[in-house]
Amino acid sequence: MKTLDPVWAPFTPEDTNPWDLRRVAHLHRRAGFAGTWGELQRDLQNGPEKSIDRLLAGKASLHAPPEFASTANVLGDAAVATNESGRIKAWWFYRMLFGPDPLGEKLTLMWHNHFATSNAKVQDLAFMRRQNETFRRLARAPFGELLNASVREPALLIYLDASANRKGHPNENLGRELMELFTLGVGNYSEDDVKEAARCLTGWTTEDGKFTEVPVKHDDGEKKVLTKKGTLAGSDLVKLLLENPATAKRLVWRLCDTFFGEKAVSVEAMKSLADGLIEKNLDIGWALGVMLRSKAFFAEANIGTRIKGPAEFIVGTARALEMFDPAPSTLALADWCGRMGQDLFEPPNVGGWTGGRAWIGARSMITRANFVAALVEGTNAGRSKAHDPSELARQHKLPTDANALITFHCRLLLGGDPTPNLIARLAKGMDRKMVALLLATPEFQLG
């Protein structure tokens, strides 16, 4: 194997880059939905290797209830049976908040954005849930497995008009997005390639809720896609796209976009990881392991340089404050998430959410401030009690005077001690009002 760029070498704690609360909190924010005090303290003790392994293995949460899987299934079934889209969104929020595998949920969110599909068009919650489960099941798999499964998901086929694409009547929708969004990225194919790809995919459709290929609708003539000629079928096209080096580059971009801050990884470093990914058969789990263990991930340039997306912001805040029993209403959380610009299961278009700085605007800052006020008060977040900062401190055997509460919440939520300026700002509120102020600071919007 070619040598990876040195920034991908494993992080080892040093005096200048210690394994401290700041880095543990960073790890949990990025690779999950923020750690609770107990999780942060545990990982601070255990060191990077064990902590990262636990996240990768999907066992990082200390708060998953024993009956999690069955409860999640009941909620998912009920959402589909009642055909209420709010409930399928709430089901996912339940999974993100209570699931044992925060990294897995974060990856599911990433794939939902990559293969963006909206129920506004699909209009079938069973298909939307099924697709979501596929993303979760294959989240860390070699990308070939995920891509092959995803392009055959009924939700995606409906969303991209697959059944309208048939011999003699090609419809470009699926072929184009398969190349532009799911694999190669724009600039790596021609308009002729799109037309020919559409021909390869003729005959793909859904029947009785399952993927099927209809031979009479398939154009089995000679085609030419990129440099390959032949009587290519849909599966040949997918294979061809998986073998193209542009796909690995796009996947690395997607992973960096999800797990790294602005400009935290150089173009050269991305290229080097893409080369590695090709040698590893596009194994996402491998790339994820390299990335999360790397010097680049724990470098100063990567800490606090990313804007939290709405789902991360909401789930991370509720988790860090241990709002598990009673929990806020997941229906309410999903609604707030939509108001902040991320309506799960209803991305704005096939390109998904732009993310990054696009999350932030005057209105979204107002919505975020209104949300944190609702969350700490409880009422407008469907929670039967308000957040009590002293109680949380007492649970962790920490002092509860006003200054100590500020310090504790800053350590928990920002990963470090407050600056004098921040203390002055937070001192304008007492108890849970202080927490609402902290959650509304520009600093807390970054992760």
Partner: protein, 387 residues
């Protein structure tokens, strides 16, 4: 109602003085001259509107042959002149058409057209064709950087059109979206100017958000003067009219209507979309007229591309090239401007554009918004679009 003067005096602005965002100081400085300035409302038709079935070429055999099943018969089209008619759904815009307040421009595009939704939309939004520049500023963001003032987007996200270096774009879908539960929170949490670029960016928007909430709280509820259809676009234009009546000095409003990506069985979908569009715009101008604001307003409606001139096998149309652009309002030169591209002299199977969209932008910038700065990175010959 909040007047500009009372807004200037409002304590919220004074309270924010040390950290006041650039756009507010600039708007305040320009007050008085700006109050009666022209306003641009943009409606982005998402997905690629089927131009050929929107502005229909009359007595055109090639059109009829390209659209054996989807064509609109001459007798059903709303005749604009001897050559063109509008889709029958435009009956919903009867007042507007009769008053001479609607202008259609066929064949609008740019050289080497992209058929990707994202690239083509990015080109329209940035008025740049180099993909490297798609992440940069939009043509209206750059305009507001020059003339000052803020913009409101009635949608969940601010489109890149309004991204500017300094100008702040406010996105909203309902009035409550600009109401702070506790007006002190954001102000108290914002903190001092930040050194780190990303933190400074977030902080600037926090301050903008707080200022916007103060404005809305001060805004009196206006009654609506138009008979709005109960559809999404109607609701959005109604909200824009309210914001205009609040007299905030905003020069640019932006909203979208989605769903034009009609790859299959498009007749009803397309007809409904156009009816929604025509009815909403008609009511919007009725409303503005009764508020005596209409004379100051021009509405631009565009889509990222037209669709394939030939219908596909699934009663739909695929991504095409040149499209139709609309300008509406009392000051536009009604009718049709420009020419229909040839339906037989094609490039990669699709028509060649007859009007570069940047000529429309150049005309709006110069003749309507009074902008002389080089927003478009180049000079484009203006058209005769205003009466």
């Amino acid at each position: 109602m909040l007047t500009r003067r009372s807004f200037l005096k409002s304590s919220s602005l004074l309270a924010l003085a040390p950290t006041v965002p650039v756009f507010i100081t600039r708007t305040a400085n320009a007050a008085g001259t700006e109050k009666d300035s022209n306003v641009l409302v943009v409606v982005q038709l998402d997905g690629g509107n089927d131009a050929l079935n929107t502005l229909i070429p009359l007595k055109n055999e090639t059109y009829a042959n390209l659209r054996p099943r989807l064509k609109i018969a001459d007798k059903d089209a709303i005749k604009l002149n001897d050559e063109f008619g509008l889709h029958p759904s435009f009956r919903q815009a009867e007042t507007l058409i009769k008053a001479g307040h609607l202008l259609a421009i066929p064949g609008v595009g740019y050289p080497n057209p992209s058929r990707s939704h994202f690239d083509s939309m990015a080109i329209w939004q940035t008025a740049r064709t180099d993909p490297e520049e798609f992440k940069g500023y939009g043509w209206l963001g750059r305009t507001l950087d020059t003339i000052g003032g803020d913009s409101y987007t009635i949608s969940n996200d601010v489109p890149r059109t309004l991204r500017g270096r300094r100008s702040a774009a406010i996105a909203m879908t309902r009035l409550e979206d600009l109401t702070l539960a506790d007006s002190g929170t954001v102000k108290n949490a914002a903190g001092p100017e930040a050194q780190q670029d990303l933190l400074a960016f977030v902080r600037r928007h926090a301050v903008d958000g707080s200022a916007a909430a103060d404005k809305m709280a001060a805004m009196a509820k206006a009654t609506d003067g138009g008979n709005y259809p109960g559809n999404a676009l109607g609701e959005r234009l109604k909200l824009i009219a309210r914001l205009m009546k609040a007299d905030l000095g905003t020069r640019v409003f932006y909203t979208t209507q989605s769903g034009y990506d009609t790859h299959a069985t498009q007749q009803f979908t397309h007809s409904n979309l156009l009816a929604e569009f025509a009815g909403a715009v008609n009511a919007f101008f009725d409303d503005l007229k009764s508020a005596k604001l209409a004379e100051r307003v021009t509405l631009l409606a565009f889509s990222e591309f037209g669709r394939t001139i030939k219908e596909n096998g699934s009663l739909g149309t695929d991504h095409g090239t040149a499209g139709v652009t609309f300008l509406c309002g009392p000051k536009v030169k009604a009718g049709v401007a420009g020419t229909l591209p040839s339906l037989t002299d094609l490039e990669k199977g699709e028509p060649k554009m007859t009007t570069d969209f940047r000529r429309i932008y150049a005309t709006i910038l110069h003749d309507w918004l009074g902008v002389t700065a080089d927003v478009l990175a180049g000079s484009y010959e203006r058209l005769k679009l205003f009466a």
